[in-house]
């Protein structure tokens, strides 16, 4: 190499050297920027994606009947879920996933969007309560979508199926409306009670979710876990229900629609409450199938309504006791007042007919109750003002909801002048003729079976206005024994003992010799266990004569009612039974009440019905369904 060329080369290599160290300097500065200036920010990001908080769902408390038999149990179930931070973002991935799981892509995308928008909470459940076939499908799908995971979660099992559907209710994911109505109270995907006691007792049953912090790898799989806060299980609850008595009602109703309530006169506890047709809460734990929508939601018989607390029925003749009470207290009749029945009577230019066209003849109050004479009570009502009737009903608790611990109870409808002004603005005036119809529990009067049962409980107790309730107490975690809760307050509305004994006499004559005694089955049981009650037949439509009525379709036939208490001496229970479109109270409703009386007073000691046993078999639980009572 020539010297001159070497000099030039050295000079240019000097530039190369400067460039090399310049490069080192620039790269060093970039790393200084990332590792020193922005260190905190990146450290936060690294922690965020590696450390996750996962909720540990608290097991929901069990629900037992008053004897400790399980009505609601928990089993383990497998869900296919997406953890919150793994929610897919790309539309094509969401669509492919929806296709693989045979879901609606738009619905899935909406759900994912909602879960992403809500900051924290439960994982998104794609498929719940998977059976073995579902698990096989899920495993295949999971190999294509690694962000899916399986989660073991407790699942509710309603051991009696349709036994007490309305009373127990069911659980499900909290819905948007509730989340909006009570912000901050629920988190998305939380399991809450949706109906029945599951809903009203939710706070007692739900427990407190725990959480754990886990270290996850890039696939979201747990590598290590730390900082665990255990879940606090929900309380196991005893209900006032008696599973055997509940079964008596279920069997007694069969295919008939209607409702029945049996109250414990000691404290107002609900011993049995059945609404027919009932529903099986187990079916509501999964996504609704078309079959279920048809069977339950589109069914004209409206099985989702709890007829015992939400059904408003014309009370018919069962209302005559309130009219009698109003008449006696107002002084328009005395226990000895005799009224003549010729089969019909004219008031205000219109004929009001008695149920017996030939007439009952001359009757006193006891006979009028026993024979359920309409004319007698038309006459009593005609001597009263509608607002007097309303005031008496209000005094004895018939104008407000009973306050039972079940959601969405309806208030009875007892008409008054003020009520008509508000309810019928087109024709706000109250006509005296309307009061006559109210006298036999027709017209504008409407009452729920639970309210009717409470009114007869008031008669049975000579004036204690009980608050019907289902919550009996919590189970002590150590001893598994019942810790009784104080029953809700009862109000005293004392009846004059002289007046009361007349009513009591009338009600027991109904069963012994009156309208209910026409049924030999009822008569036989009443001979064994004397009880008291009143039949009722509530018109659904108006008919020209009996032949016309007999020709009508089932759904236009009268509702049959029976309300009363048993045994007559030292009563223990009060009850109300409504059988829809079944005809006379004595033929359809009274026998159901008689069965209740028989079971409660005799059979439950000598021949108790077996506790409900689960039809469902849990493939994941080694444990067999428990069959023996838990409480001593």
């Amino acid at each position: 190499m020539e010297p001159r060329q070497r000099v030039l080369l050295q000079r240019r290599l000097g530039v190369f050297r400067a460039l090399a160290w310049g490069l080192v300097l620039v790269l060093g500065s970039i790393y200084a920027w990332l590792q020193i200036v922005r260190h905190g920010e990146f450290k936060q990001l690294a922690l965020q994606q590696a450390v996750k908080v996962r909720p540990i769902p608290a097991p929901r408390g069990l629900i037992l009947d008053r004897n400790g038999y399980r009505l609601v149990d928990n089993r383990r179930a497998l869900h296919l879920v997406i953890q919150r931070e793994d929610l897919p973002t790309k539309p094509d991935v969401v669509e492919a996933l929806a296709q693989a799981l045979q879901m609606d892509p738009a619905a899935l995308a909406r759900k994912i969007q909602a879960y992403r928008a809500a900051g924290k909470g439960s994982p998104l459940v794609l498929k719940e309560n998977m059976d073995e076939a579902d698990i096989a499908v899920a495993e295949r799908v999971r190999s294509r979508f690694p962000f899916l995971s399986m989660e073991v979660a407790p699942r509710r099992v309603y051991l009696g199926d349709e036994l007490a559907g309305h009373v127990l209710g069911y659980v499900g994911e909290v819905d948007d409306d509730l989340m909006k109505a009570k912000p901050g109270l629920y988190h998305l995907g939380e399991t809450i009670g949706k109906d029945g006691f599951e809903a009203s007792g939710n706070d007692r049953l739900k427990g407190v979710d725990g959480q754990k912090r886990i270290l996850v790898d890039q696939l979201g799989q747990e590598v290590a876990s730390f900082g665990q806060v255990d879940a606090v299980p929900g309380h196991t609850v005893f209900l006032t229900l008696d599973a055997g008595l509940q079964k008596v009602l279920q069997d007694a109703f069969g295919e008939e629609a209607g409702a029945a309530v049996v109250l414990d006169l000691r404290d107002g506890g609900v011993l049995a409450m059945y609404s027919s047709p009932s529903y099986d809460p187990n079916l509501f734990l999964n996504r609704l199938s078309q079959e279920m929508v048809d069977r339950y939601l589109r069914n004209p018989a409206r099985p989702m309504i709890n007829r015992a607390t939400q059904g408003i029925y014309a009370p018919g003749s069962t209302f005559k006791l309130l009219i009698a009470l109003a008449g006696l207290e107002k002084g328009v009749i005395t226990p000895q007042t005799v009224i003549y029945c010729s089969g019909k009577k004219n008031f205000y230019g219109r004929d009001f007919r008695c149920d017996k066209p030939t007439g009952h003849g001359a009757l006193n109050l006891v006979q009028a109750i026993a024979q359920s004479c309409d004319v007698y009570f038309y006459e009593v009502a005609s001597r009263l003002d509608i607002d007097d009737i309303y005031a008496t009903a209000a005094k004895y608790g018939l104008t407000v909801p009973t306050g039972i611990d079940l959601p969405r109870e309806k208030a009875p409808r007892i008409p008054s002048r003020e009520w008509k002004r508000k309810a019928v603005p087109r024709d706000p005036k109250w006509y005296a003729g309307e009061t006559i119809s109210v006298g036999i529990g027709q017209g504008a009067v409407g009452i729920t079976p639970i309210a009717l049962a409470r009114f007869y409980a008031l008669l049975a107790t000579k004036g204690r206005l009980l608050t019907p309730h289902l919550f009996l107490g919590l189970r002590d975690d150590q001893t598994n024994a019942l810790e009784p809760a104080p029953p809700p307050i009862a109000r005293d509305a004392p009846l004059d003992p002289k007046l009361w004994s007349v009513l009591d006499e009338g009600l027991s004559e109904v069963v012994r010799s009156g309208t209910a005694a026409a049924n030999p089955f009822v008569l036989e049981i009443a001979k064994e266990i004397p009880f008291a009650g009143k039949t009722g037949t509530a018109q659904v439509a108006t008919f020209v004569d009996k032949a016309h009525y007999a020709r009508q379709a089932k759904h236009l036939k009268d509702h049959a009612l029976f309300a009363g208490y048993a045994p007559r001496d030292r009563p223990q229970i009060a009850f109300a039974v409504v059988v829809e479109n079944a005809g006379f109270g004595s033929t359809a409703a009274a026998p159901i009440a008689a069965k209740v009386v028989k079971y409660w007073c005799v059979d439950r000691f000598s021949n108790p019905l077996p506790p409900p046993r689960g039809r469902l078999v849990d493939p994941f639980s080694p444990e067999q369904p428990q069959q023996s009572p838990e409480a001593p």
Binding site: M1, R12, F16, L27, Y31, A32, F42, A50, K90, D217
Partner: protein
């Protein structure tokens, strides 16, 4: 053997051994808890094989090697053409020969052979006698294998041929109007390329480079995770085998392209400075060799080698930090890979030969 070892340059050797050791440790940490747990051992063996070849090559007179550069260049072109026909297709690109269960990437060696041949051609003439057409011809010698590599396609590798062109200003000097011309040319070419040449997915890549956070789950994911790894490492790092990004697999392709992120996360900024310093010393020593070389051809080769190493350093270390587009270019001694490792050692062997002859002279 002792005589053989004396041909080795001790400065270069220490830097080399340090980088090798750190790189292998990094691979040990990166491979833990993955199916590639043994990759550090495999890379260690490649390093030993590379060292052996380096020692052997250092003993050969560089002039003899330069003299056979033309046939080697032709052979290399044939190999690059052949790999397109009979090569193994992996991940959509045909880059590898498969031989005895090992894959071999001919383009790794070819860029050194191209450097060798261009150095030989330019070095055997006096600079004044080399005309414009001669220089254009040399550029063509670089462009030809580059095009074959682009066809594979392997844009990263093709880019690593570019530093060879630096030999031209090294030989002829640089005039300011050329620099101006280059800047204008690149800008115009860039705009034209964006409008008419780049395919949508390539444009998308550029967009993601400009804003990696815009597509966190997709293409920007790798770089984003790498930046989190580097940034969360802080000044002192999280400790050997204790980087959460690395050990929990958030960091992608961590044994090859993103190996340096593993180092940065676990050893922190101090570790980064240390390695960058070692690379600075390596480049300095290569340029020392260029200035001490007996012949122009040897000097050009050593300077070109420095330029190629610098290119790898810049693109890889810049890329994992998100400062340059995500182009697959390995970091010497850190990224696992047989072909690239052997090629780097062979080049360094040649440089050591140059240094040895210069001292003996």
């Amino acid at each position: 053997m002792r005589a053989r070892l004396r041909t080795l340059d001790p400065h270069l050797l220490w830097v080399l051994l340090a980088l090798m050791a750190l790189g292998t440790l990094t691979l040990y940490s990166a491979g833990r808890n993955t199916p590639q747990a043994g990759i550090w051992l495999k890379q260690g063996l490649w390093n030993l094989l590379g060292l052996t070849l380096m020692v052997l090559l250092a003993a050969v007179d560089p002039r003899r090697i330069l003299r056979i550069s033309f046939p080697a260049y032709l052979l290399g072109l044939v190999a690059l053409a052949a790999v397109l026909v009979v090569g193994r297709k992996i991940g959509g690109a045909t880059r590898w020969f498969v031989f005895a269960g090992q894959t071999f990437q001919p383009s790794e060696l070819m860029k050194w052979i191209t450097l060798l041949y261009v150095s030989y051609r330019l070095g055997t003439r006096a600079p004044e006698t080399v005309g414009r057409w001669e220089l254009l011809g040399s550029a063509g010698l670089v462009a030809f294998p580059m095009l074959l590599v682009l066809k594979q396609p392997d844009l990263g590798m093709a880019l690593s041929f570019l530093p060879i062109l630096l030999l031209i200003p090294l030989m002829k000097g640089l005039k300011w109007r050329w620099v101006l011309l280059l800047v204008v040319g690149v800008s115009v070419g860039g705009v034209f390329g964006w409008r008419h040449v780049l395919k949508p997915y390539q444009k998308q890549r550029v967009m993601i480079f400009l804003d990696p956070s815009a597509d966190l789950q997709g293409k920007g994911y790798q770089v984003n995770q790498s930046r989190i790894a580097i940034g969360s490492g802080g000044l002192f790092g999280k400790g050997f085998t204790s980087g959460s990004q690395t050990q929990l697999n958030f960091l992608p392709v961590k044994t090859t392209d993103f190996a340096f992120s593993v180092w940065a996360e676990e050893r922190g900024f101090l570790g980064v400075l240390f390695v960058l310093g070692l690379f600075g010393l390596l480049l300095t020593r290569l340029l020392d060799a260029a200035s001490q070389a007996r012949t122009s051809a040897e000097a050009y080769f050593c300077a070109g080698a420095a330029a190629i190493f610098a290119m790898h350093l810049m693109v890889n270390v810049g890329m994992v930090a998100g400062a340059l587009p995500n182009k697959g270019m390995v970091l010497p001694f850190f990224s696992a890979g047989g072909s690239s490792t052997l090629s780097f050692f062979l080049a360094l062997g040649l440089v050591m030969g140059v240094l040895h002859r210069a001292k003996v002279k």
